[in-house]
């Protein structure tokens, strides 16, 4: 018909639906996306360089600020990597506390993912405020344990920093009893909502072999039908003692990625329930020197974070601070195929795909 010219618009660092300071240079032809160029670095604080001049204990607060929506699991991943490097044994009670905190954090992070995804779909603030109500309960639990709402600095090499107060278990019991009811409430409100179905069904379909080739991890990978979860594939800590399944969906579109978060929340509640019942008493931390000097060598510890496989690669030269401190950021690598998914779609779909992948700029830019 009529010849149209492409135009380039910056979906820049300051944008309500880019989950932080992520920027995209999108070339449009009307509403259709012709090309998309992601630009990173607007929150690059150089944590890997700073880590090289800090001791192993001083790096724990830095890991809180990596994926600031899931600080507890960042601590868990880093601490596991250092224990693998230094060969430190962790007492039973600390292992159970860590699993409870990590799974609570997974629920809170998935709540945020679904909340903001629906925020971008036009249900402005309503589902987000519902899900924030649950997140506040989880933040209260964390505040009871380590006094902070967002950057917990709770785990130490060799255990956890503080024991749980007496009123923690009853409060956790109450939360665990209510949570499935709330998840049903979300399912009831959202699962068959035709706007959600119309906006996400068949949008941004990611085939399984392409997902593996793009080294995608986490709920995005499982939404494409690949059954790969580090908690089952390479069990760390005490996850082999709990029975929970790894949910997967089939056609890998934005709707499946949304459903994955809901299903995983249910599994996390099951894990917490079992972990609560078996938490033994006893030591919460083994004695580890403050200036820990792990033997010369390297270690790669990884866990299944809410966003995907979060790994820490530590190289030690025997001195108290790591020679090299690398973070395998799942959110950054999950964005590898974001460009291919968006080309040819409409602009509104691109934001839904970005929301369903769920990135957190602290981890992407480090």
């Amino acid at each position: 018909m009529f010849k149209t010219e492409p135009i380039m618009i910056n979906f820049g660092p300051q944008h309500p639906s880019t989950h932080g300071v992520f920027r995209m240079r999108i070339t449009f032809d009307g509403e259709r996306i012709l090309d998309l160029e992601p630009v990173f670095g607007y929150l690059h604080r150089g944590i890997e360089k700073l880590g090289e001049s800090k001791t192993y204990a001083q790096i724990v607060p830095y890991t809180d600020r990596l994926d600031y929506l899931a600080s507890m699991t960042n601590n868990h991943a880093y601490v596991l990597a250092v224990e693998k490097l230094a060969g430190v044994k962790v007492p039973e009670r600390a292992e159970y506390l860590r699993v409870i905190m990590a799974e609570l954090m997974r629920i809170a992070s998935h709540l945020m993912t679904v909340g903001f995804l629906l925020n971008e779909m036009g249900a402005f603030m309503t589902p987000l405020l519902y899900m924030w109500r649950e997140r506040e309960k989880i933040l209260d639990l964390f505040e009871m344990v380590c006094g902070q709402r967002l950057t917990y600095n709770y785990m130490r090499v060799g255990g956890v920093s503080q024991d749980i107060p007496d009123e923690f278990m009853p409060a956790l019991r109450r939360f665990i009893d209510e949570m499935p009811g709330f998840i049903d409430e979300y399912e009831q409100l959202l699962a068959e909502n035709e706007i959600l179905l119309a906006r996400t069904k068949g949008v941004g379909i990611l085939p399984p072999e392409k997902a593996i080739n793009c080294s995608i991890s986490g709920p995005v990978l499982r939404a494409s039908g690949v059954k790969w979860d580090i908690r089952r594939a390479d069990p760390y800590s005490i996850y082999h003692r709990f029975d929970f399944e790894i949910p997967t969906c089939q056609n890998g579109d934005a709707y499946d990625r949304y459903r994955m978060r809901i299903l995983e929340m249910r599994q996390s509640v099951r894990i917490i329930e079992q972990a609560m019942a078996e938490t033994p008493d006893g030591e919460i931390r083994t004695k580890v020197p403050a200036m820990l000097r792990p033997p010369k060598g390297e270690a790669y510890g990884h866990i299944e974070g809410p966003k995907g496989e979060l790994g820490f690669y530590l190289v030690s030269d025997g001195s108290p601070n790591p020679y090299r401190f690398h973070i395998r950021a799942p959110a950054l690598i999950n964005l590898t195929m974001f460009r291919d998914l968006c080309i040819g779609n409409l602009l509104a779909d691109a934001l839904i795909i970005l929301g369903s992948i769920d990135i957190c700029m602290g981890e992407v830019d480090r």
Partner: protein, 123 residues
């Protein structure tokens, strides 16, 4: 006794006065010094998420945007006619209802035609 047109006159004056007041308020306040005046070249540049816009937006874009606007105008006018009808519905008994249904039908035909032609689906 003002008569009907008197009221319409007052209504007209009030609405025009209110519109003009709103237009003149910022410069007026600037004169008095309440609204600070600090001109800044960057302030008037176009906002694009904190970045410098590239290229011009004066380009040939798809004609489909025009159809959305067209349909919007059609249904906007329809709403304008519904207000007075709704206000005086009890005077125009059954006749008003039938009249409005006919008005709706005409517009719905236009909408169904646009829908069939797939004008709103973004190709």
């Amino acid at each position: 006794m003002l008569g009907n047109f008197g009221y319409i006159g007052i209504f007209l004056i009030l609405s025009l006065g209110f519109a003009i007041l709103l237009i003149l308020l910022p410069p007026l306040l600037r004169l008095v010094g309440i609204v600070p005046k600090k001109p800044n070249p960057v302030k008037t540049s176009t906002y694009e998420c904190g970045m410098e816009p590239v290229g011009t937006s004066w380009i040939q874009f798809k004609v489909q945007y025009y159809f959305f606007a067209l349909l919007f105008v059609a249904f906007d006018i329809q709403v304008v006619f519904i207000y007075p009808w709704a206000a005086t519905i009890n005077q125009l008994k059954l006749f008003g209802l039938v009249e409005m249904i006919a008005f709706f039908l005409i517009l719905i035909i236009g909408f169904v035609y646009a829908w069939r032609k797939g004008v709103l689906v973004w190709k």
